[in-house]
């Protein structure tokens, strides 16, 4: 019943939210199966909510009466009489313990046997992201004003001029106008339940028709989905699109003039976002910020609305205000621990992992290697000195506050000379020398910076002499380094 037998003509409208995929599509089971039983039940309740039930009508007996020809009795889930009955059925599932499969079956074969709408699918996907914040790799992009006005022209200018304000439906309209002639898409905006983010899920197809005739499987294809996250009140956006702005010449040099592969469709969407955000006389462009990470928490800490965008590594003591207290605190600052400073005046920060050892791969490799320096029972004087050095280099990053980077790529432009390369510089990671005399280091793990901090605490890395990019001060995941400091290309 997904396809009405009306005339099909190419349009520029977006894919309707109520376009139904046949419930028998095998990939639907996979998409639903990502969620936990509780999450599925929550979604079902949400669909059956009084305010939403118009958009997601379940299959009821009255629907059954309209088409008699269907084989009755065969379905294990007889259609319910009213919406309340459907709700009760899920309440029952809620109370009962069981696998999630029965919930999926109930949804797909029972109450929504007439099809799952694109909006429902989008909700399933967003719920998955909410439950698994590290399921995607996010790239942070900066929204920069083209032809920024000179300060101070007059201080009466709008104070928030640096941030484009967006009204969700207006933005979606203009985004749709931008990409409609080229890409047919379905849009879904949702608010994250745990983070200060708004997600936009865009599903792109290459068919110009309102009701595409492709296999339903292609409508659940994960590679055709783009996620864009808008953090609150800061000039950054995060996308799940992998490619960077610079790499226009992608490796898949498509010979067709109109590329229809998911990648180029995604690029069209990405190019349209700044245009959709722009207003007359206020144009925006997206700039790469060399930060890609799996953890949205890290992105929010490093490119977010908070205090820690521009102060990491050694300067994180300022971002967390771990150095001094408020001016009303009578205790001298040096007698108060940083933790107390961080927690006293503001609501208890959710330091989720105060001392959790992050098992980065670096360390695993390290532990195999016998190292004379890693004996913890060393001279207490030396270790005290070392811990002070670590403290001053890393500040609170990697211990009290964390922005877990899962990958850090560094290219060292200095030729590796044997004299200036003591053992302490040898980082236990995969190193690959290239033909040019430069060195590329790649760190992977769950939290690189705290891993390096651990190494420094153990004395493997000399905390005093290491360059500042190792402390996460630059807040990037890709860096080109010359003589210890990051080289920033103008081209971005």
């Amino acid at each position: 019943m997904a396809r009405p037998k009306s005339i099909r003509a190419p349009t520029t409208a977006s894919l309707p939210s109520n376009l139904r995929l046949p419930s028998s599509t095998p990939s639907l089971v996979k998409s639903f199966g990502k969620l936990t039983r509780q999450a599925l039940l929550d979604l079902a309740f949400q669909w059956l909510d009084d305010r939403n039930v118009q958009s997601f009508p379940p299959y009821l007996q009255e629907n059954e009466d309209q088409k008699e020809d269907e084989d009755e009795g065969l379905s294990p889930y007889p259609a319910e009489r009213t919406i309340n009955d459907v709700r009760n059925a899920y309440q029952e599932l809620q109370l009962r313990k069981g696998g999630k499969r029965e919930v999926i079956d109930r949804i797909l074969e029972g109450d929504w046997r007439h099809g799952i709408t694109l909006r429902q699918l989008a909700m399933v996907d967003l719920r998955y992201i909410d439950d698994h914040p590290a399921s995607l790799r996010w790239t942070a992009l900066e929204l920069a004003r083209i032809g920024a006005q000179q300060y101070p022209p007059d201080s009466s200018a709008d104070m928030t001029a640096c941030l484009p304000r967006l009204h969700a439906s207006t933005f979606l309209n203009s985004l749709q106008q931008q990409i409609a002639p080229l890409v047919k898409a379905h849009y879904y905006l949702g608010r994250s339940t745990s983070l200060p983010l708004t997600f936009l899920r865009i599903f792109v197809t290459n068919s110009p028709y309102q009701h595409p005739r492709q296999a339903a499987d292609s409508l659940t294809d994960a590679s055709r989905v783009i996620y864009i996250a808008f953090p609150d009140s800061c000039p950054f956006i995060y996308t799940s699109i992998a490619s960077t702005t610079g790499s226009k010449a992608s490796t898949t040099a498509t010979p067709h003039p109109v590329a229809t592969d998911p990648r180029s469709l995604q690029r069209l969407v990405r190019d349209a976002i700044p245009k959709a955000l722009s207003l007359p006389h206020q144009r925006y462009t997206l700039k790469a910020t060399s930060l890609t990470a799996k953890s949205l928490q890290a992105l929010l800490a490093l490119r977010g609305p908070g205090r820690s965008n521009q102060s990491n590594g050694a300067f994180s003591i300022f971002a967390d205000a771990a150095l001094e207290g408020s001016p009303l605190d009578p205790r001298p600052s040096n007698t108060v621990s940083p933790e107390e400073h961080m927690n006293q005046q503001f609501h208890q920060q959710k330091t989720t992992e105060p001392s959790e050892p992050t098992d980065s791969t670096d360390e695993k490799k390290l532990s195999k290697r016998p190292n004379p320096h890693t004996d913890p029972r060393e001279d207490p004087h030396v270790s005290k000195k070392r811990s002070l050095a670590v403290q001053s280099r890393f500040g609170t990053s990697g211990s009290l506050s964390s922005a877990p980077l899962d990958r850090l790529d560094v290219r060292l432009l200095d030729p590796p000379t044997p004299t200036s390369n003591p053992a302490s510089r040898q980082t236990p990671t995969q190193t690959q020398t290239q033909t040019t005399p430069s060195l590329s280091l790649t760190f992977t793990g769950t939290d690189i910076i705290s891993g390096i901090r651990k190494l420094a605490e153990l004395g493997v890395v000399d905390a005093k002499r290491m360059p500042s990019w190792m402390t996460g001060e630059e807040a990037v995941s890709v860096a080109v380094v010359r003589q210890g400091s990051r080289v920033v290309k103008d081209s971005g």
């Binding site: 000179q150 104070m159 304000r165 000039p235 820690s308 521009q310 605190d329």
Partner: protein, 379 residues
């Protein structure tokens, strides 16, 4: 069962011990920094001639013992007085990075007082000092902790313009650039840097932002905020009344992201909150479905207001919101007055006894930041 009881008892006792220890520390440092004690110490300290009296000697010895503590706490108190009095203070900071080209940084600390008498986390700006081509001192922002609400980059471009240094690596290009610099000196002429202006502007924008947030919080508190899961049973909301819960972006007291809602009130407002973190626009929602939005100016005046109902715009309500003295804090007074007059017009003489607004106090009146708001011309 008993074990659980004991465990909880032990943990409560431990928590109490912690709070008491904390209190003791605060009190002892307050005593150390107090003026009578400081005066006594300065009196006792200089005159330490060898007197015969053993008691006196003992006393001086005691003073000598605690004098480092006294000194440090008096220094700390002095710093705090500066921070309270001037709100913007500077300090030196050394970049620990071994590869930093300018390790000595100038730190600027900005303390901003809030409505409830506390201070925000201090904001820091760390400035790098260098010299330009003419040997003049130049500062640039190295690191800062100012949130994105204040565009530090833009302000830096405006107030701390740096002389253009030909930063090309290729020799030929550099020569070319230098030649150009000689031919067209105006292009490379450094504009004057205004560090004071920069810091003043950053502080002003931070203060204005906090005042706006405070104003919105004040309005919400006036109406009464109900926190989900904490005190929602007392407020008498139905269990199934799911709608209306909103995430509190400002995080009034207990944490950002907590779900809150406005308590039932006589104004019929069901929701009031900033549209974004910068709290320039505030969204209002009434019981009857009207939706409004108003803008707070940097002087605390409601600048513009739009109210949309089912039958289009509610111009009368818009006038009420922007009318009167226009202050944000007196918004509800205006709304109440309007409601009252409307009711009288309608012939409804029912008593409306909710006028207990005597204790109302403007948010700018008790803080040291009032001067900032007053100084600004009305935009």
């Amino acid at each position: 069962m008993e074990d659980d009881d004991l465990d909880s008892e032990i943990s409560t006792i431990r928590a109490e011990i912690r709070t008491l220890q904390h209190r003791r520390r605060i009190l002892s440092s307050s005593i150390l920094a107090s003026r009578p004690l400081q005066r006594l110490a300065t009196k006792a300290h200089p005159q330490s001639p060898p007197s015969a009296q053993s008691q006196h000697q003992q006393q001086t010895q005691q003073w000598a013992e605690i004098s480092p503590l006294l000194q440090s706490s008096s220094a700390h108190a002095r710093t705090n007085h500066h921070r309270i009095g001037f709100s913007t203070t500077t300090f030196p900071f050394k970049d620990p990075s071994p590869t930093a080209d300018t390790p000595n940084l100038l730190g600027v600390r900005i303390d901003i007082g809030l409505r409830d008498g506390t201070y925000t986390k201090p904001y820091y700006i760390l400035l790098r000092t260098g010299t330009n081509r003419e040997g003049k001192k130049e500062v640039s922002v190295h690191r800062h902790t100012v949130p994105a609400v204040v565009d530090v980059g833009g302000l830096e471009r405006g107030y701390l313009p740096r002389s253009k240094v030909p930063t090309t690596t290729v020799d030929g290009e550099e020569v070319e650039a230098e030649a150009e610099a000689q031919l067209k000196p105006w292009k490379y002429k450094p504009k004057k840097q205004d560090l004071k202006g920069f810091v003043r502007e950053v502080r002003k924008q931070l203060v204005v932002w906090h005042l706006r947030c405070d104003a919105v919080r004040y309005l919400r508190e006036k109406l009464g905020v109900v926190r989900r899961g904490v005190d929602d049973d007392a407020a008498g909301f139905e269990e199934d009344e799911e709608g209306g819960w909103e995430r509190d972006i400002l995080g009034a007291a207990a944490g950002v992201g907590e779900e809150t809602r406005i308590a039932k009130n006589d104004l019929g407002i069901v929701s009031l909150g900033p549209t974004a973190l910068e709290a320039v626009y505030v969204r209002l929602e009434w019981e009857d479905g009207r939706v409004g939005r108003f803008k707070i100016s940097s002087t605390g005046v409601v600048e513009r207001a739009v109210v949309l109902g089912d039958n289009g715009r509610d111009k009368e309500m818009e006038d009420v919101i922007t009318g009167g003295d226009g202050r944000v804090e007196t918004l509800f007074d205006r709304l109440r007055k309007h409601g009252l007059s409307e009711r009288e017009e309608g012939g409804d003489r029912s008593e409306h006894g909710d006028g207990g607004e005597g204790s109302e106090q403007g948010y700018g009146e008790d803080g040291s930041d009032h001067g900032d708001m007053g100084d600004e011309s009305i935009l």
